[in-house]
């Protein structure tokens, strides 16, 4: 242990002359300068490593076992879990639902957020109040949102069916119809996140120098053109950031569909809106508690998230032209 300077016993030091004391404090100071930064960043890396990174990586290891906690089984089976998984129709059903809900919720959400941010990016009265108004859904808990929207989209007397009834449309089976249930869940996600993303965009938009718009409008560019040709390209990094964050979050969607289906993990009578995260939970924490199988699924979901994040990144980067500098 050479790093014990800080704990060096004080009484062992010779009677301190001025020079010796200065010498020591100099050495202490050097130690302080050189090593204390590591001490300050270490807690993050240690705690994140133990409780964040390690579990994600260990998932791969667990996925190679037939691992049931209740019966005490732990047997190495290689890639067997993955083989079974790829033939599991409920897995594919959950994957289909997850991707469907993701697309339905993310695309309209980010477009609406862009438009909303553009509207907020003005001189106006009650600015803070309006911003608070659009971001308030984000502070509500997902569990509460799920419960509230379950009733708004209730099958028989729900608010939406009532509204549809007033214009003469027959009530929709919001749970038995797969696509209707996706829509309702997407509405829930959009409601909670559109305002939040709009504020992120707004923050980026305010950093754009106003002169750009002034010269553009002197050249006769319409507000619409200015939005697409100046605003959107200039906040492209922020758009890419939100796309990636939404992809990571959207693919792990769990609480909304769970609460929407009145807390039942199967997600609808015929798994119409059971997502991958829900199916992982069902396999791992209910019934036989198959940790290996659940881990294999988690790892596949992880790969899916990485690939979709990269695909979406590339798609948005190509379709939104950046500022050429």
């Amino acid at each position: 242990m050479t790093s014990a300077v800080g704990t060096r016993p004080r009484h062992a030091a010779p009677p301190p002359t001025r020079a010796a004391r200065r010498q020591r404090s100099y050495r202490l100071g050097r130690w302080d300068l050189k090593y204390s930064p590591y001490l300050y960043v270490a807690p993050f890396f240690i705690l994140f490593g133990v409780f964040g990174l390690f579990p994600v990586l260990y998932t791969v290891y667990v996925s190679l076992f037939d691992y049931e906690l209740l019966s005490g089984t732990k047997e190495f089976v290689g890639l067997e879990n993955y083989r079974v998984l790829l033939q599991d129709s409920q897995f594919w059903n959950a994957a289909y639902n997850t991707v469907g809900i993701f697309v339905l919720s993310t695309v309209p959400q980010l477009i609406a957020a862009l438009i909303l941010a553009n509207l907020l990016n003005r001189q106006m009265r009650a600015r803070t109040l309006l911003r608070m108004g659009v971001v308030i859904p984000n502070i509500t808990s997902v569990a509460a949102v799920g419960i509230i929207f379950a009733l708004i989209f209730a099958d028989r007397y729900g608010l939406v069916n009532w509204l549809l009834g007033t214009v003469g449309i027959d009530p929709i089976a919001w749970r038995d119809n797969r696509y209707a249930s996706w829509f309702a869940i997407a509405v829930m996600v959009d409601w909670r996140w559109t305002g939040y993303n709009a504020l992120i965009y707004l923050g980026a938009m305010q950093a754009i120098p106003k002169d750009l718009y002034e010269s553009a409008s002197l050249d006769g560019a319409s507000a619409w053109r200015q939005f697409w040709q100046i605003t959107v390209p200039l906040i492209r990094p922020t758009i890419l950031f939100t796309v990636i964050i939404s992809t990571i979050g959207g693919f792990q969607i769990f609480t909304e569909p769970l609460m929407y289906g009145f807390g039942l993990i199967r997600g609808g009578a015929d798994h119409e809106f059971q997502t991958l995260a829900m199916y992982i939970y069902e396999q791992t924490f209910t019934g036989n508690a198959e940790y290996g199988y659940g881990s294999a699924m988690s790892w596949l979901l992880f790969m899916m998230i990485i690939s979709f994040a990269l695909i979406n990144f590339a798609l948005v980067r190509r379709s939104v032209r950046g500022e050429q500098k």
């Binding site: 994600v56 007397y157 305010q206 922020t238």
Partner: protein, 302 residues
């Protein structure tokens, strides 16, 4: 631009220019003035945002026979419903509220402390591997840690922590986003000269952090604290996995209320969602401006 004086100040200094005196009909001036149509669109947006919350409070005040009644006007049973909901022993709602408050507070203090400490080091101290480590922190924000829940759960079983509050506290004591946010703020909020001066006065690095940097970071720390508190309060999946109905957080209590035999008592359930949302609403109304500033700052400076 004549309304500039009446505009509320925001935490982020707004880059709106006042350089040129406005005269006449410059096309640019009109573009940045909100039109009545803009107001209308924003008000519609706000109504859509607020309505479900208001509606849940309305349902919470009704009788079960009137849950679906239109138009949405409040009933007179709010306190009766809250009382019945609180009396539900399976849901243990009060206990859930207390647990959530404890967990959220500890996590918030810890995240602020470790984030400001590491953020200070990344912004103001020189050490080998600084940039590489900072990059690692940014990458950790991209790791979907939720996918590690199975090994994490096995770890908790091993430690004997299932069903205890430390299981929902300890894994969340640090946060990559927090470190990054504090680093960004410290870079501009604390001048290098100040730190040099403190060093010449013989301050150790720790004293510089504690007496110079931490006070300067207070505004950003407050925002990070608010965001962390709300996020922890709303956490659902992990508490649902690792806790038991005997030690619920408030979200877990809601889950119990919303399923099984209590599912049909809608008004009590909505009394629950209202009560679980209320603390956050209060925080949001008091600190709304700071929270908005925090969200707007959060992503941009990367």
């Amino acid at each position: 631009m004549s309304t500039t004086q009446t505009l509320p100040r925001s935490v982020a200094p707004s880059p709106v220019t006042r350089r040129r005196p406005r005269r006449g009909r410059m096309p640019g001036a009109q573009l940045w003035q909100a039109s009545p149509l803009t107001y209308l669109a924003l008000i519609v947006g706000c109504v859509l945002s607020i309505f479900p919350i208001v509606w849940s409070f309305i349902v919470a005040s009704r009788d079960n026979s009137a849950v679906y009644e239109m138009p949405p006007v409040p009933g007179d049973r709010l306190f009766e419903n809250i009382e019945r909901m609180l009396a539900n022993e399976d849901a243990a709602f009060v206990y859930g509220l207390v647990n959530s408050a404890v967990v959220s507070s500890i996590v918030t203090v810890s995240v602020i402390f470790f984030s400001s400490l590491a953020g200070f080091a990344f912004a103001k101290l020189r050490f080998r591997g600084r940039n590489a480590l900072l990059l690692v922190i940014i990458l950790t924000m991209m790791v979907p840690t939720q996918l590690g829940v199975i090994p994490l759960y096995l770890m908790m079983v091993e430690l004997g922590w299932t069903g205890t509050l430390q299981a929902v506290i300890v894994p969340f004591l640090v946060q990559g986003f927090g470190v990054f946010m504090m680093r960004q703020y410290a870079t501009s909020a604390v001048s290098d000269e100040l730190i040099e001066a403190a060093r010449l006065d013989g301050c150790s690095t720790w004293r510089i952090y504690w007496n110079v940097v931490l006070p300067a970071l207070r505004p950003a720390a407050a925002v990070l604290g608010l965001l962390t508190f709300m996020q922890t309060w709303n956490e659902f999946l992990w508490p649902f996995i690792v806790l038991t109905p005997d030690t619920p957080t408030v979200q877990y209590s809601l889950k119990i209320l919303s399923s099984g035999p209590y599912q049909t008592d809608y008004v009590a359930l909505f009394a629950g969602t209202s009560l679980a949302t209320l603390p956050l609403l209060v925080v949001f109304i008091i600190f709304g401006r700071q929270i908005i500033g925090g969200i707007m700052e959060g992503a941009v400076k990367s």
